[in-house]
């Protein structure tokens, strides 16, 4: 038996148009805790999906050795049989069942075809005791907090004899006390010889718990280092530095007066009023300006956008001021009436009506412009929408065709153009170029420039640092629902943004 329980050798994974992993080699030491970090889109989740068997053997290049023998997952269940279990960011437990029932779901001990509850709970108790997990074995999942639910997930994995436990951002939803409890458990697991792969955005956690850390960037391994003797600056330096391969159109923007001001905006979670989704955020955005919002996954960027758009209803505090006037926004309608428009991140789920035509999608928020209560002037509708689609260079045979017949980039143009007829004051674009090809990306950047030049204020949320740096006049960086700083374009570098986004203390200006 060698030192390494898992050897990932030269693994590559290609998706249409993008290389998600290229030539990744990582050795995971037996019984250790191995950290994995990198920006959004660095390839962490692709790697995890390969280990978990989501992408079966053959769907990727390279080889993975488990205990020196090749690992060949042909479906998701295989990974578990081989002793690799993942605790996902979103917990997958059944809330109305008890802890024991969840742990043994699908593997219930039976005698004569009837579930043997006594054995089920006895086994549960044993597992919980062995790993020193403090959870009542017969409690309903819905009665437990997120931290304890996560322990149930871990117990479930261990009950299936997992030797390698992959924790995907385990602390993102936990309180400090819960995080402490989790760290204790991880130490116990280390003592018992369970190997952990620990993925996180919070860099200080790596120094607290892991033995080694691998940094991924653009699908490649930057380096694997021992945590002892390293520091966060070193990690950040490795994480950033993505190539500025994309071109960004030159803008002649000239931001002038402040159009919108947000003061001490706080939004509360729907389930528990004590939990703040975004915390005390203040910023301004000027006419003709592109304000970039950067941050890692789960930093609260989308929540900031939807709060301004009224999605949190009355569960907010703080002020939104447009043109010097304080406004109340408790619904999408309010926001739209005040000239704030949102292009959501989830294009299919929130942006498009996939059963309808291109025309109907563009026209939806604008129908009042060409209709009375009794009649839609369909000719006028078609005429105005056609003009808009042409301005946005939406490539389609006819506006009457179904929206599904368009490519992703053209669909995104439709989602943006449906808001342009009314000339919004503030246009919020949430990940405007996600999943679209380079050509369409460039066109969308050009539109953003044009709109800003015409005096619109644009707020752009993006996970891609080059895009943030290439397009924004100023950059607001978020971490854990807080604003960590607002940077002028000239002062911003990938390192500074990443330092702020990972919650390290950094510069504050503005």
């Amino acid at each position: 038996m060698n030192d390494y329980i898992l050897e990932i050798k030269n693994v590559s994974k290609q998706f249409p148009g993008i290389k998600a992993l290229s030539d990744v080699s990582i050795n995971i030491r037996r019984g250790g805790i191995h950290g994995l970090c990198g920006e959004n889109g660095a390839g962490k989740s692709t790697l995890m999906k390969i280990l978990a068997g989501v992408y079966p053997h053959g769907a990727y290049d390279g080889e993975i050795l488990l205990n020196s023998t090749p690992l060949r997952n042909s479906y998701i269940g295989d990974a578990l049989k081989n002793g690799i279990a993942i605790v996902h960011q979103e917990l997958a437990l059944i809330p109305y069942m008890t802890v024991g029932e969840n742990i043994y779901l699908g593997r219930e001990p039976v005698s004569h075809g009837i579930i043997n509850r006594h054995k089920l709970y006895a086994d549960t108790k044993e597992i919980l005791k062995k790993y020193d997990l403090d959870i009542p074995f017969s409690a309903k999942i819905s009665s437990l907090g997120v931290g304890r639910q996560q322990m149930v997930e871990i117990a479930k994995a261990l009950s299936e004899d997992a030797r390698i436990l992959i924790l995907d951002e385990p602390t993102s939803a936990l309180t400090d006390t819960e995080i402490n409890a989790l760290m204790r458990i991880l130490n116990t697991l280390r003592e018992k010889g369970v190997t952990c792969i620990y993925i996180s955005h919070k860099l200080e956690e790596f120094f607290r718990i892991t033995d080694t850390v691998t940094v991924l960037r653009d699908g490649m391994v930057v380096d694997t280092i021992d945590t002892a003797g390293a520091d966060t600056e070193a990690l950040i330096a490795m994480m950033v530095g993505r190539e500025m391969t994309e071109r960004f159109p030159e803008g002649k923007r000239n931001p002038k007066k402040v159009i919108m001001e947000v003061r001490n905006l706080t939004a509360y979670d729907q389930a528990s009023r004590d939990k703040k989704v975004i915390k005390d955020i203040s910023f301004t955005v000027r006419k003709g300006e592109i304000l970039g919002i950067a941050g890692l996954m789960g930093a609260g960027r989308t929540e900031l956008a939807t709060t301004i758009f009224g999605e949190f209803g009355t569960r907010i505090s703080g002020d939104i001021i447009i043109n010097g006037e304080k406004i109340t926004v408790t619904s999408a309608r309010d926001a739209i009436d005040n000239g704030i428009h949102l292009v959501p991140e989830d294009r299919k789920g929130l942006g498009l009506i996939t059963t309808q035509s291109i025309l109907e999608n563009i026209s939806l928020p604008n129908i009042h412009r060409f209709s009375s209560i009794f009649r839609i002037d369909k000719h006028k509708e078609l005429q105005e929408c056609e003009r808009l689609a042409k301005d946005m260079s939406v490539k389609c045979r006819s506006l009457l065709a179904n929206i599904n017949s368009l490519s992703g980039g053209n669909q995104q143009k439709v989602v943006i153009s449906k808001w342009l007829m009314t000339r919004p004051r503030v246009l919020i674009l949430d990940e405007p170029t996600r999943g679209i090809d380079v050509g369409a990306k460039y066109e969308i950047y050009k539109f953003m420039n044009e709109l800003a030049e015409q005096g619109m204020a644009i707020i752009m949320i993006s996970s891609e640092l080059p895009e943030i740096l290439g397009m924004s006049d100023r950059i607001l960086v978020m971490c854990e629902g807080e604003c960590k700083g607002i940077l002028e374009k000239k002062d911003a570098t990938q390192e500074i943004i990443m330092t702020l986004a990972t919650g390290m203390n950094g510069v504050h200006n503005d």
């Binding site: 942006g351 009506i353 839609i376 449906k418």
Partner: protein, 410 residues
């Protein structure tokens, strides 16, 4: 300047139109197939003017409901209470006509002769029935849209509540008699001459609409399709109108009043669904509720209105039912919700919401009525009739599922 298309472009245009309307053509084809089948199996009796005339009358009560149900289903809701609601409207109508109004009207309007009192009674009854329908719509719409109770539950409750109302009003007995003027609404005919005049007016309307539309298009600078294509389309519908009026209706006793009423309501609802903001919003809500909400549409208000319209149509349907059976009965409207939903779905309304047309609902009602009528004419055992109707419904939904898979909308 008129744009002139080449033959090639015209052929492409026509095939484009056919593709866009594939669902409608498929439905019409299915209907014709069913008719041909029954024609063969009944030695032509099925296609005789008298039978077809009855067939159209039979479909009316369900098709009123289907017009509203299309909108309900399009918004992603369902209404299971329409059968009981129609029963309640009918019971209230019969109670007013047979019991309450004969007592009070002669005292209130002592100067009127008895025939006029009968007409007054019918006018009051019609208004009251529509009010009952409206009240039902307001109630269920409020609970569904504003209190957020799922429509399935609200209307399942309504199904029981309204049936309870029927039992309470009728006291378990059949309520008779109904005034002749109310019976006329459901059983009367328009004379042959009136029928022909109506046909001419409708055909004139079809053609003037077509040309008005062309002029509008031109004034906005859109390319026009060749005039003969539009003329052919208008001509096709005109011929359908003529076949109905001259062969089917005038071949028997003339256009039946409920069919005329149905045509008027169908045109109104077709217009609402395709040419108003409200209609557009209904389809958007059914297609993607969240995206529609984020576009600033008041979803609650729209769903509220959809239920109000459904309630009003229950009122109309209840009036026709009362007039047709000339009584108020405890079983009035039983199982209508099932026939209505089946008619909508056979007519291409999607079970997932977002798609469905009034035209489809008419064809669907016609298919359901044809099956019922044809099997009765064949003297088929009633148990077979149930089984076949059930199978047709399942097959129709399967076709919907298949076509969704193909277009990738799920």
């Amino acid at each position: 300047m008129e744009y002139i298309m080449t033959d090639n472009q015209i052929i492409r245009k026509i095939s484009g139109i056919i593709q866009l309307n594939m669902k409608s053509f498929a439905m019409i084809f299915a209907l014709l197939l069913i008719w041909a089948l029954f024609a063969v199996m009944t030695n032509g009796v099925f296609l005789a003017p008298q039978n077809l005339s009855n067939l159209f009358r039979q479909m009316t009560i369900i098709s009123f409901l289907a017009f509203g149900m299309v909108l309900i289903l399009v918004t992603g809701n369902i209404d299971l209470s329409v059968g009981s609601a129609v029963g309640l409207v009918s019971a209230v109508g019969a109670y007013l006509q047979a019991i309450l109004l004969p007592k009070i009207l002669p005292d209130l309007l002592p100067m009127l002769p008895s025939t006029s009192i009968g007409i007054a009674s019918t006018v009051i009854t019609v208004i009251a029935c529509l009010m009952v329908g409206l009240a039902i719509g307001l109630w269920q719409g409020y609970l569904t849209a504003y209190l957020g109770i799922p429509a399935f539950i609200v209307t399942l409750g309504g199904m029981l509540i309204f049936r309870g109302g029927v039992l309470g009003i009728t006291q378990g007995k059949t309520i008779v008699p109904i005034e002749d003027s109310l019976v006329y609404i459901a059983q009367g005919y328009q004379g042959r001459i009136t029928g022909i005049i109506i046909a001419i007016l409708v055909i004139l309307a079809i053609f003037s609409m077509t040309f008005w539309n062309r002029r509008q298009k031109k004034s906005y600078g859109f390319e026009l399709r060749p005039a003969y294509l539009d003329t052919a389309k208008a001509g096709f519908f005109s011929i359908l109108v003529l076949i109905y009026v001259l062969y089917i209706a005038n071949g028997y006793r003339g256009i039946q009043n409920p069919v005329l009423l149905m045509a008027v309501v169908a045109v109104i609802f077709s217009y609402i669904s395709t040419s108003t903001r409200f209609g557009r919003y209904c389809y958007a809500i059914g297609g993607n509720k969240e995206a529609t909400r984020l576009s600033g549409v008041d979803i609650k208000k729209n769903i509220f209105i959809v239920f109000i319209l459904m309630g009003l149509l229950c009122g109309v349907s209840g009036i026709v039912l009362t007039g047709y059976v000339a009584a108020g009965t405890i079983g009035g409207g039983t199982n209508y919700e099932l026939s209505t939903i089946a008619a909508c779905i056979i007519g291409g309304t999607s079970t997932m919401g977002g798609a469905g047309t009034i035209f489809g609902a008419i064809i669907g009602s016609l298919i359901m009525a044809s099956l019922e009528n044809g099997m009765s004419v064949m003297n088929m055992d009633i148990f077979w009739q149930y089984i076949i109707k059930g199978l047709v419904l399942i097959i129709a939904v399967y076709i919907d599922v298949l076509s969704r898979k193909k277009t990738g909308i799920i």
